[in-house]
Each structure stands twice: as structure tokens, then as C-alpha cells.
Amino acid sequence: MKIDHWLKENTFHHGSYWDFRHMVDAKERQDLSISLCIPTLNEEKTIGKEVVIFKSELMSRYPLLDEIAVIDSGSTDNTREVASSFGADVYLASDILPEAGEKRGKGENLWKAIHQLKGDIIVYVDADIKNIHPRFAYGLVAPLIYRQEIKYVKAFYDRPLAFSTGIRPSGGGRVTEILVRPLFSLFFPELTAIIQPLSGEYAVRREVLEAIPFPIGYGVETSHLMDVYKRWGLEAFGQTDLDQRVHRNQPTRDLGKMSFGIIQTFLSRIKSLGMVPDLPDLNSTLRQFQSRDGTFEQVEYEIVEEERPPMIEIPAYQKKFGRHL
């Protein structure tokens, strides 16, 4: 019943937020600042359009965003130059908190953004969205502006297919439906209500972001949901239907790597939460197989889900933002 209630009260559609003027007024009344963070790695083909669309619609025309930042993992193409030429603030992840060292992974960029960006709310949007539209930011930020008790808003995307009845399954991608939702069903049944737990677009209040650890790899989204749920409960979440998202489709082998990282994070979380106390040490090598000239051979991938501590524990952050544990 709680899930039904939450789905009804905390699931939104971006189309409800058509009145930008009203949204900006509400934001200004609360004296909120909002930062958009786009984590990148070799995204020169799509980054220009993303920056242009967000800057035009949500800064120049309606001042909803206070900054648009690209946090780059060291692209070898022109991602940083293109983003900068269209007016984004561009940062190399390794230049942020250099004393904390450098790790590679999207989660690293998201974590460092908390220190670099100034917003009370940070909205994260992936850089590989072909059909980018302002809704990818305002649809996620709006519930935080209008509902004080909501702290973390996740995107989901409806995938309209032809169905003969009025009911059609609505859900996430392959990894969500095969891995994450079954795991949540076993250990965190209420979190199954989040339709796309792995979507890369979400808006979060700083007070939450600074308080949760960040796996730097594939497990960042899953661990966020578990940590926020444990500390603030299902009521802290919202989710917004952003209609369609067009992006590169990943091959099954890559989804295997992703799943491997997510399981690592998931298991280490349930262990630290005391839900499965006797977990053995886990192997960090993923083995996949391929055939060459009629014989099969192993392909090994070393995937270690490292984790960054809550940003509030970092002295430089405490100093910059005047925050303390």
C-alpha cells in the first residue's frame, strides 16, 4: 500500500511543469541555487547541443539554472573545447580536489561536482542523450522546488509500444529488469517502485549529496538509492516521467560488466547495513568468453567498485562550504 501511495503522490510527468515563470518565481522565493552537472568522457558529438539547449532555455530565457558545468574525465576528443565554446563551465575531474587523488569513473565526476559546484540542488544529466530537451533538467528540479520533503528525484522514461489492452508493462532497461529490480524485491521491496533505478538523470539536494558515499563506477546509482532510502525513507524520493530518451544502445557484454559492478556495490551495501553479515570476500574479476578459430577462450575484466566517502567528511569541502559533520 505504501508503494501505491508513493507512486500516486511522488510520480510526476514533466508536462505538469510547463509554467517556467512560476517555477523560477518559486525558486527565487526560496533563495535556491541550482547547478547542472554533465559528466563527460569523449562526448564531442552531443555535448554542444546539450549545453546550447540548457543555456538557452533554462538560463537565458528562464533563469532556473545558476550554472552549467561539464565535469570531464579526460576526454581525448574535443569535448571540453566544444562545451566551453558554447558557454559551459568546464572542469577536468582530476583538477578538482587534487589532494584526494584521481580515480576513473562516472561516479568520480559526480562526487567531485559536489565540491566544485555551488548549487543547493545539483541536477545530473548524461551527455549522450540524442533527443536532449530542457525537460531533462526542469522535470527533475521542479519537484524539489515545489515539495520541500522530497530530496532526490529520479528520471524515468516511458517506452511506448503497441499494446492491445490499456495496460502495458512500464519499466527500465535490461539490467534493471533482470538484476536490480529482482535484488530490490528481495532486500528493499519499496525501492522497486522506482521505475528506472539506473537512469543517469537525477536532481538531488546538497544536504543529501554531501552525506552519502559515492561508488565511482557502475554502482553509483544503486548505492544512492539504498543509502537515501535507509536514511530518509521512500518519502524522500520522487520520480519524473521524461517521456523518451534516445541514446546509444549498449551491447550485452557491456551490460555484463555493468551488472558485475552493480552486484559488487549491492552486496557490499547489504553487508555494511548488517543485512547479510557473513558475506565472503568477493572476486573482482569478471570472466566472459569468446570463440576464436573453433576454440573458446576467456576474457577477463578486472572491475573494482571503489568508493568515495561522503563529501561532508572532506576537510576542503567543509572549509569551502562552511559545513561540518
Binding site: 547541443k49 546550447v52 539547449i53 538557452s56 573545447e81 565554446s85
Partner: protein
């Protein structure tokens, strides 16, 4: 007049700078406009987007008429007469085509970005730009996204407006995304048609030969090529596209040729039309196939002259911006305006290539000159510099 024109010329660098300052809004408008499919007769969504932009900009009388044209009016300080600004909304691309637009450092790429997402985007951005440079026109400015312009649309949107409009229109400026430097002020005589060859189901191949619809259409093309075209008045026949048949090994039972006759003289257009009709009748009777000519559009030649003040102003402004005017007659919106005796010109906004292909692209930097040129011409028009004595 010279002093006033000098004033406009002196303002051009500032206008270009102002256009650069709204770069993100202009580019976002190109992207958002371009990603809404708008094949001819299905422009509603693109026009709705334009309409929303007009409403948000505070234009008056924002509306969509019964043939799908979108309007917004920027009221002039004195009012009375009207200047009409037009961009056609439709494209040649089917709605099933992937309309994703991408932006690189210097290019914006996607189907229809030059023809005519950029023209529409300029229309959508213009009210904000005018506010930014504090340009308060004396005349009312009617901003119009025209529906049903291309191909079979045959300028239906603009014609509908001109036939039903009661407002006095002093002059008009049509905007095309490409090419910067384009200056059209006259319309060619034109006739656009399709020739359909259909072989009946019960065709007697043994008696009449197994040539098929493609070979018959080839005969039609050979006859068209034999038509002698005069050097003066300038005349051409464009064979635009051809399609027919279904596979490698089946004799084609249908084929279609799309063509356009263009000439400075209406009489020459008429004469070529008659010769094509004769050729078709002859081939039809020789082969027993059904060969038909569908006329889709006609234009009468006409327009204002090279020395018309509006053309002269446009040339001066272009030259001041280091844009070489390329004079070319038009068969687009201009001709409908000419039919209604409204002085009008067509301008291009930027440079581009791969036009009418899926990877059509336009350059970003020249757009600002193109927009400044347009604003300069509007200032000249509004200041009375483009009126004939």
C-alpha cells in the same frame, strides 16, 4: 535619405554583436525547430512551437489560421501599415526520418536545418533580438510561419493569407536559412509537374513490346530534351526526380518524373508546357499506356526591379557587412507576394551545404551577419528608406 542609410549602416556592427549575444537562443531555436518533423501539409507541431515562442515573447494576436499558418504581431509605435516577415515552416523530409540535429563547434547539422529551420528560428528569435537592441518599429511587424509552401503545397499557406488578409502590407521580407548573400526580388515564370506512366494490368506485352513504364518514361525524357530552349528570355527545364518499378527482374508498370519549367517569360513557359503535353499524347497513343501530366504549381514572372529602393538598401547593407549579394530570381514565397503587388525580397541567413540531404548543415558564425543584415533591412524599411517615390 543618404544620411539615414548611413545611420543604418553604422548600426550594423552593433546589430551583429547583439545577434552574437543571443547565440544560444538562436541555436536552440534551430535545434528545437529542426527536431520537429514538418513535411508539407503536416507542419502543425512546428507551427505550434513557433506560436508558443511568439506568445512567450509578448507578441500580439498570436494565432494559427485555418490552413496552419502561424502568426504574431509586433505592434509599431505608429501602426497603420504593416511589414510582413515570412519563413516557410515545411521541409521535404518525411516525418519518419530521424530529425536529430547536432551541433559542432562551427556547424549545425540535421535534415532541413538550412531549408528552413534556420529561417523559422530567426523568426522565433527576432522579437527578443529587437527588444535587446531597443528597436521599436514605427510600422506593425507581422511575423509569419507559412504552411504548405513546398512542392505540392504550392505556397497555399501564404496565398491563403494574402487572399484573406485585410491589413495594408507595405512590403515583405522572406527568410531562407541558406545561402547568405542571396537576394531575390523577382519571380520566374514556373510550371511544376509530374508525369506518370502507368501500364494497364491487362497490357498486351506481345503486341506492344515489353518495354515497361521506365523505358516509356525514358522516351518522354528524350522528347523533353529535344525541346529547344531560347537563350533570351532565360529558360530552363529541371528534371528533378525519377522513380519507378519494384525490383530487378519485373518489368516496371509505373514510373514518375518530377520536373519544373522555369523562364523569365510566361509565354515560353506556356509554349514548353504545350510541347510536353504533345509529346505525352503521342507516346500514350503509340504504346497504349496511360501517360498523364499532373500540374502541381504555376508561377507568373514579375517582381520589383534591381533599382527598387528595397533592393538597393539590401545591396548596400550586404556590402557593408562584406557579404557579396548574389542576385537570383525565385520561385518561392516571393511570387505569391508579387502576384499581390507587394514589394518583397528573399534573404539567406547563413552558408551551408549538403542541402536537402539528411546531413544538411549550416555554418554558425555567418548566421550573425545574416541576422544583422535582416535587422538592418528592417530598420531601413521601417525608416521609409525602401519606399518608391
Amino acid at each position: 535619405m543618404a544620411v539615414k542609410m548611413t545611420k543604418v549602416i553604422n548600426e550594423l556592427p552593433g546589430l551583429r554583436k547583439a545577434a552574437e549575444q543571443v547565440r544560444d537562443i538562436l541555436l536552440a531555436n534551430v535545434v528545437m525547430m529542426g527536431e520537429i518533423p514538418a513535411p508539407t501539409f503536416k507542419e502543425e507541431n512546428r507551427i505550434r512551437f513557433l506560436h508558443d515562442r511568439f506568445s512567450e515573447s509578448g507578441l500580439q494576436d498570436c494565432s494559427v489560421d485555418e490552413v496552419g499558418n502561424g502568426f504574431g504581431v509586433l505592434p509599431g509605435e505608429e501602426g497603420g501599415d504593416h511589414v510582413l516577415l515570412i519563413a516557410h515552416a515545411d521541409t521535404i523530409f518525411d516525418e519518419k526520418v530521424d530529425h536529430t540535429v547536432s551541433i559542432q563547434s562551427e556547424w549545425i547539422t540535421g535534415p532541413g536545418v538550412g531549408d528552413n529551420s534556420l529561417g523559422m528560428a530567426v523568426l522565433a528569435t527576432l522579437p527578443m533580438l529587437m527588444k535587446q537592441v531597443d528597436f521599436k518599429p514605427r510600422s506593425n511587424m507581422i511575423l509569419m510561419g507559412a504552411s504548405r509552401s513546398l512542392g505540392r503545397g504550392d505556397l497555399e499557406g501564404l496565398r491563403f493569407f494574402l487572399e484573406n488578409n485585410r491589413l495594408p502590407i507595405r512590403c515583405a521580407v522572406c527568410m531562407e536559412g541558406v545561402q547568405l548573400g542571396r537576394l531575390s526580388y523577382s519571380s520566374l515564370g514556373m510550371l511544376r509537374g509530374e508525369i506518370h506512366v502507368r501500364v494497364p494490368e491487362m497490357y498486351d506485352w506481345t503486341r506492344l513490346g515489353a518495354a515497361g513504364a521506365i523505358v516509356m518514361l525514358n522516351d518522354v525524357i528524350n522528347r523533353i530534351n529535344q525541346i529547344r530552349l531560347p537563350k533570351r528570355p532565360k529558360t530552363s527545364i529541371v528534371l528533378g526526380s525519377i522513380r519507378g518499378g519494384t525490383s530487378f527482374n519485373t518489368i516496371a508498370t509505373n514510373s514518375v518524373l518530377r520536373f519544373e519549367i522555369r523562364s523569365e517569360s510566361a509565354d515560353v513557359v506556356r509554349s514548353i508546357h504545350e510541347q510536353i503535353e504533345d509529346a505525352i499524347s503521342e507516346i500514350s497513343s503509340e504504346t497504349n499506356a496511360d501517360v498523364k501530366l499532373d500540374i502541381l504549381a504555376r508561377r507568373k514572372p514579375g517582381g520589383i526591379g534591381f533599382r527598387h529602393p528595397m533592393v538597393r538598401c539590401a545591396r548596400e547593407i550586404m556590402r557593408a557587412m562584406d557579404v557579396e549579394p548574389r542576385i537570383a530570381p525565385s520561385t518561392s514565397e516571393l511570387s505569391a507576394l508579387i502576384d499581390h503587388k507587394i514589394p518583397a525580397i528573399t534573404l539567406g541567413i547563413s552558408t551551408g551545404d549538403q542541402l536537402n540531404q539528411l546531413n544538411e548543415r549550416v555554418r554558425i558564425t555567418p548566421m550573425f551577419s545574416g541576422v544583422a543584415q535582416l535587422m538592418g533591412i528592417l530598420k531601413a524599411v521601417d525608416g521609409g528608406l525602401c519606399d518608391e517615390d
